[in-house]
Symmetry: C2
Subunit: 420 residues, 2 copies
């Protein structure tokens, strides 16, 4: 018997039949003796529908007043699924009630549409759960100190679930989704990708930030901070999932050097040629971009060539490339570059693993494996547990497969396959 949080995403809640499937899963947990809080997303497509209404109502509105009403509108999606799941459970003979964001309440900052959870009052809900009642909580929503409805930003329901698990001191937070766990890489590219039984928070964070979209980065950060054990598993199968755990807890295991290989095709490369190599030039480049809300990622500044000039290369989100070029052209006099180049046909490929902290040569293996296939590296960035390279987009699938093999991640060949 344990206290657990179960979180179900929009695909799992899309329609009465699927909600019934979710309720059956919750019922099994209750019958196993668990105290259960369930966090639910809106039905798949519903939030988009509501957001669409908001944009029709106020096409150009971005102010705080608009965002406060936006939150009132879009929070309705999770309110509906929370009520429906509670009554479906009741119909199956499981005692249940919904606890809306303002009822618990889930206290958040006042940053409408991007609010942060500040605290959750749990006395009443804990008493109800102790009495054998399932608590159904709409994800994504909260309440300001002033009593207004907030939402946490798209995908915020994972964060709601982790925050509930932390507030309830739950043994774990099970995130049910439409994939059955975290894989060593995208199985669509590498059929021999393996599902990981365990992964550390840090690895999960790095994988999430480089394009593996299983969990919201923010929810993993919160889980790491609050030491909430996360499990990712499928709503649609009974296969075991992936447990996201603390590195210490994971320490006993034999494990691979590298947890996974991720890729990201959403960035574009910008190069400023002939930038004067003088103090303050980096600020002249990146200051105006930051002021315009551009998220710069990889940055490479070459060693100054003769005559005190250098080239600066960096990546920005593809969607922000036109804005970025515009901002830089306007700052040309101040920066003093001779040419502005850009390339949207790039991809970032990353290998992630806490094992690289204690093993040298991880990056070298990567560079050798890519060079052997003639794949040119355009930029490199590293963190303590990640190495990322920028390459031409056309090579991305090849690079992922090559690296997956190079780090020994491929699943073993089965006897069936040998005999086939």
């Amino acid at each position: 018997m344990a206290r657990i949080v179960m979180k179900f995403g929009g695909t799992s809640m899309a329609g009465s039949e699927r909600i019934c499937n979710v309720a059956a899963r919750v019922k099994r947990a209750v019958e196993a003796g668990d105290e259960v809080a369930v966090v639910v997303s809106a039905m798949a497509g519903e939030t988009d529908r509501l957001v669409g209404y908001c944009h029709e109502a106020a096409p150009r509105a971005v102010g705080a007043d608009f965002r406060a009403e936006y939150d009132v509108v879009v929070a309705a999606g999770e309110q509906v699924t929370a009520g429906l799941l509670a009554m479906t459970l009741q119909a199956m003979g499981v005692r249940a009630r919904s606890w809306l964001g303002w009822q618990l309440p889930i206290r958040t900052s006042g940053a409408h549409s991007l609010a942060r959870i500040e605290g959750i009052e749990t006395e009443a809900v804990l008493a109800a759960m102790a009495g054998g009642e399932v608590a159904v909580v709409p994800g994504f929503q909260g309440l300001t100190a002033g009593g207004r409805v907030t939402t946490l930003g798209r995908g915020g329901s994972d964060t709601s679930a982790v925050a509930m698990a932390a507030a309830l001191s739950a043994e774990r937070c099970d995130i049910y989704t439409d994939v059955d766990g975290v894989y060593t890489t995208d199985p669509r590219i590498v059929p021999r990708a393996r599902k990981l039984s365990r992964i550390t928070y840090e690895e999960m964070l790095e994988l999430a930030s480089v394009g593996a979209k299983v969990l919201q980065t923010r929810s993993v950060e919160l889980a790491m901070k609050e030491k909430v054990r996360l499990q990712v598993l499928s709503s649609f199968s009974d296969a075991p999932g992936t447990m996201v755990v603390d590195e210490d807890e994971d320490g006993e295991m034999e494990r691979e050097l590298i947890a996974g290989v991720a890729y990201d095709k959403s960035e574009a490369k910008v190069t400023l040629v002939g930038v004067p190599d003088r103090p303050g030039v980096v600020g002249a480049v990146f200051g105006p971009l930051a002021d315009s809300g551009v998220n710069v990622d990889m940055i490479v500044q070459n060693i100054a060539k003769g005559e005190g000039h250098t080239d600066v290369t960096f990546t920005v989100p593809r969607a922000q490339l036109p804005l970025s070029l515009d901002v830089l052209e306007k700052a040309k006099a101040e920066i003093g570059f001779t040419a502005l180049l850009s390339d949207a046909a790039v991809a970032k490929v990353s290998v992630v693993g806490v094992g690289m902290r204690s093993h040298a040569g991880v990056a070298a293996t990567m560079f050798r494996a890519l060079a052997a296939r003639g794949i040119n590296i355009q930029a490199i960035t590293t963190s303590e547990i990640k190495v990322s390279v920028l390459i031409a987009e056309e090579y991305v699938e090849l690079a992922v497969r090559v690296l997956h093999t190079a780090y020994g991640l491929d699943a073993p060949i089965t006897e069936d396959e040998v005999s086939a």
Copy 2:
């Protein structure tokens, strides 16, 4: 400058374009200097969609726990339109915010899905309105003393609007709908039906209860009790509407004897033949029906014929006719009738007017006019300001036209019509 409540129904709120039209109307009121609270329904069709989900989730559920979650689900419809209208107003440069049922709060009884409003806290909203901000309030929803969401029953938004007007001491409550006022009768049957510029609460109540579906009976009762001046007018035109007022206020006017002629085809007739004429027999008939939730309307007990037997005729809702017959058959031994007859092809036609309090002969005019056309009267009931007759359904349009003319309600023939 006045403080007013404007209420918009589901047809008026169905989609962004119509919400924009509503916002433009509210803006005009604000620019005219009014302090405005707006009460909104869900988009037409949305409540049905949400109710459908509930029935799929729990096909047989009728308990209090189910109804508490039902309220959580269906209240979402008005939450969405309230947020959308507030942001649409903002986009038009009108300061506005939504006040959800739990935010004001609108305090209700704990009778989920059929809650009654017990009080509305208005201090904060009045301050906001005095500061020039439009208050947008979702209709239909409230909050129990225990902090749960309630709804007021279908069509409850009219009641929300009247309750808001009473709580805010508003000068009037304007109900915008898809018809442009209250007519002397159904214009589809009588092209010469006239729109009434004024009608009393009592007349409106009697008309509502006999099938004129412009306003919910409950909202008119509340308006009468709280002396809220109601105006019914169209969202889709600028034509003047109908003002529903107190009889005293209406006293100065020259007015017709009869305000309107209504009809209702939703009832069926039941006759018990040969019922023993003994004390307690009425209880034996109507007790079991009441216990089964059947709403009996007109009742006629004939004078006892020879041998101490009588016939009892009454009407029930057509939808409850099979249930009623079943209940009566089971009670046959106890009641002791000789035959049980029923007829669903009946209609009730009523004339309503406070003028009949001081004028004799209103009923006689009705009976003569119907008799002249050979229309047989099967049952009669009267109240202080209403006479209703039950007739064969096939005569209903004829009866309405005949009575409309007999009481002098037909609009005058215009010069255009004369020359045509």
